[in-house]
Symmetry: C2
Subunit: 222 residues, 2 copies
Amino acid sequence: MYAHSVQSARTITPLAEIKDAGQEIDRLRLVGLTRGFARGREIFGEGEHADHVYSVISGAVRSFRVLSDGRRQVLDFYLPGDIFGIEPGPDHGVGAEAVNDVILLVARRSLAADDGDGAMTRRLLRLAVDDLRRSRDHVLTLGCRTACERVASFLNDLAVRLGNRRSLDLPMSRQDIADYLGLTIETVSRTFSLFQTAGLIRLHGRRSVELCRPGALTDLCI
Amino acid sequence: MYAHSVQSARTITPLAEIKDAGQEIDRLRLVGLTRGFARGREIFGEGEHADHVYSVISGAVRSFRVLSDGRRQVLDFYLPGDIFGIEPGPDHGVGAEAVNDVILLVARRSLAADDGDGAMTRRLLRLAVDDLRRSRDHVLTLGCRTACERVASFLNDLAVRLGNRRSLDLPMSRQDIADYLGLTIETVSRTFSLFQTAGLIRLHGRRSVELCRPGALTDLCI
DNA sequence: CGGGCGATTGAATTACATCAAATTTCGTGG
DNA sequence: CCACGAAATTTGATGTAATTCAATCGCCCG
């Protein structure tokens, strides 16, 4: 079904070789293994024991929860440099899957847990609290905003996180975006088309979005 | 407009006198002032400097964010025993107001910040991570669930938090509930009426809800 | 170059919002 | 204790944004 070539590639990776993984990693001492996951592969499941912490080196990851009848809510996307997998209790409260082929830096949670002086706990606190801020933004979007505003703020956020380029390469499918924004795939698609008609964006293929008037998009976010 | 009698009541309160404030308080060393806020009063504003941490002794508090055009999202309700006001950065990312007349235990953030051995940081981490779990639940509700499911899970949550009584006393107005659930006041009201017609609840006045078939409500949450 | 999956587009439907009363609640003052 | 009146809530009628159902299109990979 999926290409499995990346799966199970394990190597000890000197930290210096990893450029994209962001500043926080070395402070979290996420030295250890890099591991690849092919598109669609589960990284960890909801309810699974949480004994690793991950940092995205390349590719993208989605975290999500599902209701018993199959409805899925994507909670967050993690991009190169982002850290994820930190959990309150012993178990993961969310699932995580590879959006496309990804390479992750993996560290045992226990290794990152304590270094005696509490500095590690403070870093974990900062990460948790960042997640909390992002989650609150998400609640605001889902509770208050229209479909147009949701899609605009999604593109805006992604542009910022990917470095404010004029051209975005969306790692995720329309279905992923829809499940993140609490919309249907059709509504997301229609909104993209609407934005294109209005001259705000240009779509090139499935994955590439050119932001023609980033300011106008930002204005739409209210 | 509002009764102001509770406002500005300040006293040094020995910890032993406070029964309702939950287990975590003494560990957070939130010894200090109790302070009353009348219904509707601001406790802190979005963007304000965050130099206190609060624990609810009696009454209820709502945290919220507002969009520039006035749309409001209630992010959380804090009930007796809950702690709130802990923030990532130096400033509050949300506002907080008294839902009804409340009495809070207030501590300087700096006093709770460090006790040398990192134990305090670990407690803050746990609190942040609890907030994160609740926020994720909220995202799931707003992104996936119908109006009926939202109201049912709201009542369910509140019942659990207030101690699984058969009769709930809602501290908040229909507008607060609507803004929490991403619905309108009319939809919340209609859904309450629907539940009453279906024999799931009975409404007594504005604030009292009797849960006739708690199991059926739980089932509705999916 | 062809097949298949993801994306787009169109038409019909619906859940919820909006607009507009009617009704109830509850604090206040007589 | 009861009546009044403002505010909150409920109910009704209508509108609409987003969903659902149903084709069709067009990337992209073999």
